[in-house]
């Protein structure tokens, strides 16, 4: 029996993903997921109930992701918001052999080199978490409120370019949404067009 358990668990996860493989819309309950992070730890959205959760789709080779990491913008956001109790989950859905695919060790080295501090990085080489949320680009950002409702889906900011120089004059949608939601206000820009490279899915 013992040897059966992991595969049964996997089957259950796959079924859960298939059952909810529909669009996620702002205002709807954010679909639960489980995944393994770059430290080999199990991550599950359900365990973060009661907290704000940010999901950040990531591909370290993509020029749009590099805009926000090489400028330090993403790291500043991670530091600021995790400092205020937000859970920040970076997700890598690049399939093996595609741009942005990394091993857990490579990802941990990258985090250290870039001085990045997400709560965890979920390794999603099969793309099931990406498909569950309909993640289209890197970056593509989502925010889930403490009740488990999706309150933001879209771009990181309002300048869809790969130029670092554009960050200073940009409205950061993630910060704006978190600030509004934390002070009990509705999110003004709750869904925007995400911009960047396409997520490098296996299929």
């Amino acid at each position: 029996m013992k040897s059966l358990r992991p595969s049964l668990l996997r089957a259950a996860v796959v079924l859960a993903l298939m059952a909810s493989a529909l669009a996620v819309r702002v205002g709807d309950p954010a679909p639960n997921f489980t995944g393994v992070d770059s430290n080999g730890k199990q991550q599950s959205l359900a365990t973060y109930k009661g907290k704000f959760v940010v999901l950040e789709w990531h591909n370290q080779g993509c020029p749009y992701t590099r805009k926000h990491y090489e400028s330090g913008n993403m790291q500043r956001l991670q530091k600021e918001w995790t400092g205020k109790g937000v859970v920040w989950l970076t997700v890598i859905s690049s399939a093996p052999g595609t741009q942005g695919f990394v091993t857990p060790t490579q990802e941990n080295e990258y985090l250290q080199k870039m001085n990045a501090s997400p709560t965890a990085v979920i390794m999603d080489p099969g793309g099931s978490l990406g498909h569950l949320y309909g993640a289209k680009t890197t970056p593509h950002m989502y925010i889930i409120d403490p009740a488990g409702t999706l309150i933001y889906n879209g771009a990181i900011d309002d300048h869809p370019t790969s130029d670092q120089a554009d960050i200073a004059g940009s409205k950061n949608y993630v910060s704006a949404a978190l600030a509004e939601a934390m002070s009990g206000k509705p999110v003004t820009d709750a869904a925007t067009r995400p911009y960047g490279c396409s997520v490098k899915y296996k299929d």
């Binding site: 879209g154 869904a191 396409s198 490098k200």
Partner: protein
Amino acid sequence: MAQQLSDHARVELLAREDAIVAGSDLRLGIHFVLDPGWHIYWTNPGDSGQPLVIQWQLPQGFHTDQIDWPRPERMQSTAQLADYGYHGEVLLPVTVRVPASLAAGTPAPIAADAKWLICREVCIPEHAQLHLELPVAQHAKANPNAAALFARTEELLPRPLPHGWKISAAAEKDDIVLSVVAGSPLKKVEFFPLEPNQIDNAAAERLHPTAAGVSLVLKKSDLLTKPVTVLRGVLVLSNGTAYRIEAPVRQPIK
């Protein structure tokens, strides 16, 4: 030097005529010859990507219009992701208004700082500083090196709907139904939305030919937070003809 080689494309600033004429429109274009497998993007790039942006440096009194985007092609990378853009070769034309006061013989250097994203499996931001020097003259003749390319490109630009055609749109729960009345059945049409976030780019278009045209069922985008009141886009027929459409969207009765 009008032509530049980027890593994955040959890029050139071209003029349709061989001279600038005071008070006349000047037709320019940025010509891309892309390496095999690489693509650039339409004005609405779809689910990812970024369109060409041009910053012009023009003589005093010159003004440019927006890029006239030729009809795009649909590039579906997975069941969930689709982009709109161009493979192979494309000319992106722009009209420049030339002041009537321009004296013949005046030097009129034109420069374009062009930035674009080019992708195959990966995406690379590229840019080029393109220059063009044309004489200011009383009359202009067709530029023999570019006239045919400009003429071919004009055929690819969306035009107004033919006289007598009617278009309407109605919102349903998950879809927007676009109806085209053309006078005869249309078997194959493609719709390209001009606004991002209205239509699910990757969803298969559902076509229903009717006696007088066609109706298209377009899936609404997941990113919609309020009703689509106007649907703007480009309709491309099977023969490649492209039409600009703008249809107010009838909302469902609650």
